[in-house]
């Protein structure tokens, strides 16, 4: 089953690298929001003691909404291009889910590698526990990709437009967003990794629960 999922992932990557539609959408959205935020707020207007929390919240708002502007494409383009039926006949649902989930995860990681360093520089956000931050980002991306992928599968079969994806994903992901902001703030404030541990535990359990639900629900959503 893994090789089938890798085939799906490979197809998504080649397709995306050639058309670069999702990459552009997410990258440009993040960049424009970041520059707007950096220009408007700037690092010095926030009081020192509020900075770790507020900057963590702003970072995740940029990452979160950039993600919602691009993560739905992975299923929506299959329906729009009428390739969904061919894929449905050729591949097993689990392989499709895993392949597309990994693709969304890679998309998120690419977004973070691109935006987070830039954000720290522009907003003068000095993060004491970089290891903790990387952990929060990695596991947070997994949880976010899990929620986004199953919701993308759901809305791709509805006649709604892209906005439906944001309407459905945001409320589901709000608890995750709250925890991610907590974790990022903890990572920023203290160098040792133990500080982010409570947030990581919550993120891992949320990701686990979403993945299990997706594994059960996806075949129902994918096959009529």
């Amino acid at each position: 089953m893994l090789s089938e999922a890798m085939a799906v992932l490979g197809k998504e990557l080649t397709g995306e690298l050639r058309s670069r539609v999702a990459l552009n959408a997410i990258g440009l959205f993040a960049l424009t929001t970041l520059t707007a935020v950096a220009y408007q707020i700037g690092p010095y207007r926030i009081a020192a003691e509020d900075r770790p929390h507020l900057l963590a919240a702003l970072l995740w708002i940029i990452l979160f909404f950039a993600a919602t502007s691009g993560l739905a494409r992975v299923f929506v383009k299959e329906e729009d291009a009428h390739t969904a039926k061919t894929l449905r006949l050729a591949a097993r649902p689990e392989a499709v889910l895993l392949g597309k989930l990994l693709f969304n995860l890679l998309l998120l990681v690419a977004l973070e590698v691109f935006i987070v360093p830039l954000y720290c520089v522009l907003m003068a956000y000095e993060v004491k526990g970089v290891a903790g931050l990387v952990l929060v980002l990695a596991l947070g991306s997994l949880a976010l990709a899990a929620v986004a992928t199953i919701v993308a599968a759901i809305i791709s079969r509805a006649s709604g437009s892209g906005t439906l994806f944001a309407v459905l994903t945001v409320p589901l992901a709000l608890p995750l967003l709250v925890i991610l902001i907590q974790g990022t703030r903890a990572a920023a404030e203290s160098p040792d990794v133990a500080a982010v541990w409570p947030a990581l535990r919550a993120i891992v359990s949320l990701a686990g629960v979403t993945l299990i639900a997706s594994a059960y629900l996806f075949p129902v959503v994918w096959h009529d």
């Binding site: 199953i150 709604g160 439906l164 409320p171 709250v178 925890i179 959503v221 009529d224």
Partner: protein, 224 residues
Amino acid sequence: MTDKRWLLKWLLGVWLAVVVLGAFFYAPTARGFKGESARIVFFHVPQAWVAVLAFCVNLIASLRFLRTRDPIDDARAASAAGLGLLFSVLATVTGSLFAKVMWGSFWNWDPREVSIAILLLIYAAYFALRQAVPDEERRGSLSAAYAVLAFVTMPFLVFVVPRIYWSLHPDTLLNARGSIDMESRMVQVLVASLVGFTGLFSWLYTLSVRLARIRLRRQQGVEG
């Protein structure tokens, strides 16, 4: 009018009237509260309880629909979700009224308020999804899938978010609601109110399912 069901309904009518009177006269004024404001708890808590109960019924009906694909189960899920949304709106309104009296502002990001608000968004999104799917069998399976996802995130909303306390102003507010020590008479009224509201919910629920059943029979009747 001697039919057992009519009797039950009239009993419910009288029961809740007595609960209302009890809430204002039988129960003593709670200590440590401004005036009589604590009495709202007799309505706020049952509404929140009924909302969660409705979402449980929605989950069960959705899971059953995924197995049976019977449109009546989809109708049950939709009616339960509708009532759940109604009661969570009521719970939010009574909650913020209580906050206005106690803490002077309608909304002060108390973790419980954040959880209810996110719950509202999720089930409002559930109905946005239902609107966006024309084919009624697919509408059933997609909304059932989202209902399961929503239910799976609820524990995180109710348990994780309040424990990791997050608010814009760092000083933690005294959460009076959690710490009321209930006198026995207050507990009696509260329990009576819980029973009454549950009765009201089941009545509204059966009514709406019976209506849906008629609509379905009409639709199937039309094309034989």
